[in-house]
Amino acid sequence: MALHRLVDGPLDLQEALRAVAGPDRGAVATFSGTARDHHAGRPVLRLEYQAYAAMAEETFRTIGAEVAERFATPHLAILHRTGTVPIGEASVIIAVAAPHRREALAACAYAIDRLKETAPIWKKEVYADGAVWIEGPRARPAG
């Protein structure tokens, strides 16, 4: 089963695991991206995420289709938080289940890489004395 969702609140790793697990799958790989308390030596107080929600969810579906084609498993969960993310809490969770570990691990790495390249979501770092919108590489995603 696939689960793709933007969540305005804490993410639940168990929900992602439940969505992908099954008796014919011997491996579940997960990735959690968590809010870090520093960037380039500067203390970060919290993160704030904004998403173009409708397109982000389309992007998650596309990543799911790519994972299904490349790694032969439809069992992918993507949860991404929006709004304020306190330090230490997860901003994104990916879970992939597959019959064997190699596909599960490779698919999990692929999915988070593609999410970071293509999902229309932006992160703002909030410091004691201001805030900055982080912007990824200028490479134009295919389309």
Partner: protein, 80 residues
Amino acid sequence: MKITVMLFARYREAAGRPALEVEAPEGATLQGIWEQVRTAVPALADERRPLFACDRAYARPERVVTGGEEIAAFPPVSGG
């Protein structure tokens, strides 16, 4: 034709609003529409090459808009 351009992240903050409506001629491209946004919003004047989405998919700047599409312009993404 009237075209609504959705803005995100730094662009939204610079414009002080989530979307902007501009009047575009028939045959206008995304880049052409963006030039009108830059003219209307001085805070975006330096943003020459945004990313564009048309109907929730990435689109090239030379894409011709026919009206009725969902148009968005935004800086490079940084989710995850």
